[in-house]
């Protein structure tokens, strides 16, 4: 048992922390999210230069072969800075999917281009009207004249605004299980509707009408890879939440010390002090579960992995809600303005809670594991 980072991980953390401090101040972020594209290629390249894109890619695929703990280190720092570049959508998710769900030949070159930061690939999974469903897909694929085509509507695709390639989950005809497809964004039959998310990240709804698609891996055998990738996303989000919550807590405690009412700092009031302690409690319990989730991504038993991931997402999701809401409350009126960073942390934490399974969804999944035990 050991809770320390390796020397390499500590160095990575340090490098990313410097990137956030130097290149991702709140003012710099304002400019980025106000731009036409809503994110910055320049910052994307800097992340690639640091090695963040190559990190989760296996060495045999041209990457650095990092594990869940490495991802945790990166995501925590991205959370601190509220980074909007689509690292989760266009690195963590596609790398996990391709590594688990595509053959050597299929992923050759593609992972290398993701690792270098030159290719952007997004995962179009959530069917319109299906909430957090992982298996019962509405999007259909058919095979005719020696090729697949897919039809369906995917929503809230992270990085879907800019990706040139899409990994799409769909069921072929009457198959019981899902398959995974590669689709060119500019192919005929693909229409995308990009938009900013509530937290200034970017995404898109994407509709497919008989869009040409290439099957990855074996037909009707993609579910394990999909589950793995979505679990990886949950682990990454948990780490991102730790970074965002710890900053938000720090900002809030600082405000309690400086903001004066009735002639003294509001932090002299016990009701507010205890709230700040409870925020810290949520943060530290979540930190423990983010570690659990990071380590669980190396667990070969998928059921055990799922149990740990859902446990983390439940606890972190509850913490995101508490820490976010209370940070706003303790700031008072200024906390509900768009101008202050507090609101931006709150919005990101709220979206993390709503992404890839909310607390109820993961509590139910964890509960199922108790029946099996």
């Amino acid at each position: 048992m050991n809770f320390s980072l390796t020397d390499e991980q500590a160095a990575l953390k340090d490098t990313l922390a410097k990137f956030i401090e130097r290149d991702y101040s709140f003012d710099q972020r304002w400019k980025i999210i106000g731009s036409q594209m809503g994110w910055s290629r320049e910052h994307w390249s800097k992340l690639a230069d640091i090695g963040a894109m190559a990190l989760p890619v296996a060495e045999s695929d041209g990457g650095l072969g990092g594990n869940g703990v490495d991802t945790m280190v990166v995501m925590e720092q991205l959370g601190r800075g509220l980074v909007v570049e689509p690292y989760l959508g266009c690195v963590i998710l596609p790398v996990a999917l391709l590594t688990q769900g595509a053959s050597d030949i299929e992923r050759a070159g593609l992972l290398e281009r993701i690792a270098s930061g030159e290719s952007m690939v997004a995962f179009a999974h959530t069917d319109a009207g299906s909430r957090y469903e992982r298996e019962q897909l509405k999007t259909r694929a058919t095979f005719a004249n020696g090729a697949y085509s897919i039809t369906g509507n995917k929503i809230a695709v992270l990085g879907g605004d800019c990706a040139e390639l899409l990994l799409v989950s769909a069921k072929v005809d009457q198959d019981a299980a899902a398959s995974l497809f590669l689709v060119q964004t500019h192919a005929t039959g693909v229409a995308r509707f990009p938009y900013p998310m509530q937290d200034a990240q970017r995404g898109a709804d994407i509709s497919f009408v008989n869009a040409p698609a290439v099957l990855l891996g074996e037909r009707a055998s993609a579910q394990a890879a999909i589950d793995y990738a979505l679990d990886a996303a949950c682990a990454a989000l948990s780490a991102e939440a730790i970074g965002a919550m710890s900053e938000l807590h720090k900002i809030t405690v600082e405000y309690l010390k400086t903001r004066k009412q009735f002639g003294r700092a509001i932090g002299m009031n016990q009701a507010l002090q205890h709230r700040a302690v409870d925020m810290l409690m949520h943060l530290e319990m979540s930190r423990s579960m983010a570690m659990e989730a990071a380590v669980a991504m190396s667990e070969p038993n998928a059921q055990l992995r799922a149990k740990s991931i859902s446990a983390a997402k439940v606890l972190v999701g509850q913490a995101c809600r508490f820490v976010g809401q209370q940070a706003v409350q303790l700031h008072g009126g200024i906390g509900v303005t768009h101008e202050l960073n507090v609101a931006h942390y709150f919005k990101r934490l709220t979206m993390i809670g709503a992404s890839f399974g909310d607390c109820d969804w993961h509590l139910a999944r964890y509960g199922e594991s108790l029946l099996a035990a």
């Binding site: 980072l5 205890h274 700040a276 810290l280 530290e284 446990a311 606890l315 509590l363 139910a364 509960g367």
Partner: protein, 402 residues
Amino acid sequence: MDLRYNDEQRAFAQEVREFTRANLDPSVAKKVLDGARLSREDYLGWHRALYKKGWVGAGWPTAFGGTGWNSTQQHIFDEVTADEGAPQLMPFGLRMVAPVIMAFGNKAQQDYYLPKILSGEHWWCQGYSEPGSGSDLASLKTKAERATDADGAHYIVNGQKTWTTLGQHADWIFCLVRTSTDGRQQEGISFLLIDMKSPGVTVRPIIMLDQEHEVNEVWFDNVRVPAENLIGEENKGWTYAKFLLSHERTGIAGVGRCKRIVKRLHHVAKQATAHGQPLIEDVRFRDRLAQVEIELRALEITLLRVLDAEREKRAPGPEASLLKIKGSEIQQTLTELTMMAAGPAALPYVREGEHEAQDVAWLSDEAYRYATGTYFNFRKTTIYGGSNEIQRNIVTQLVLGL
């Protein structure tokens, strides 16, 4: 980063488990697993078995006859023995007064008291709280006046202590007493060891809401205490008391005990039925169980983080100060859930031994017999050891700097 135990730690856990299975009286284990009240002999039987093995002083340095285990090994020991149904080793001697004697006592005190704590010859209790001073400990009034007569230097102690856990079993009590009223409250307190058999000591039971005798009032009426029973210097007792409080930070989370209760709860939830199916199938109950289990896992990892930092001699982060708050809350939730699982079987109050005499099936349902009493009893956990509100005040000051 690796959250699993390594091979060496797993082998140690196995060794502890095998020893416990071979040496723990099964009837005592059953009482513990059922949540029944234990007798003095129940506690001491297990204590003596560990003493023979050399495992009583889990947190003690080897120089004083301890095991020299690191903090992680101590946790493994606590966790495995709790899982097997071993009684908790009474902390008052082993984990409370002993570290103070080691750090601040003189050689004669160390030679006399420490071996008797290890062997179980002396059962200790804690004389801190008074009727007028709960969380505000430094306001204590029990008075010790120094005098000298033909038999030598001594203190005359007058006053009252309260909430004295298992004081009815104790041979000795360590007390905070007031030896001066000059200066700040904290500056006039001394740390005194008192033989419970001294003339003038009276122990009166306080019956708790579960109708059990767990705590006591201890009265001192002109009790003569030899001056050599003073620890360290007169009027420095507050320093020693604070040392004691900071010494026992990780055990109070009760992770091992909680894991045992969760296991039991799983068993119960599969046996009991609701809507014609096992209670565990009831999604409302299952969600509650899932929620507390997840919180317990978070607490456990948090505890392991603290232990890891201690083992590596790194200063623990803010998480250490949160263990008591979260641990006590989880303990309460678990006892409440166990009572909920019992449903209407939570209602009867059955006196010890009564069910055997009556031979009525529902009265002797062992899964539930102690569930409600334990729920009531465990309301204490967010009050004792510095109430959770006091804990939040401490975190406010020491961690948040507010």
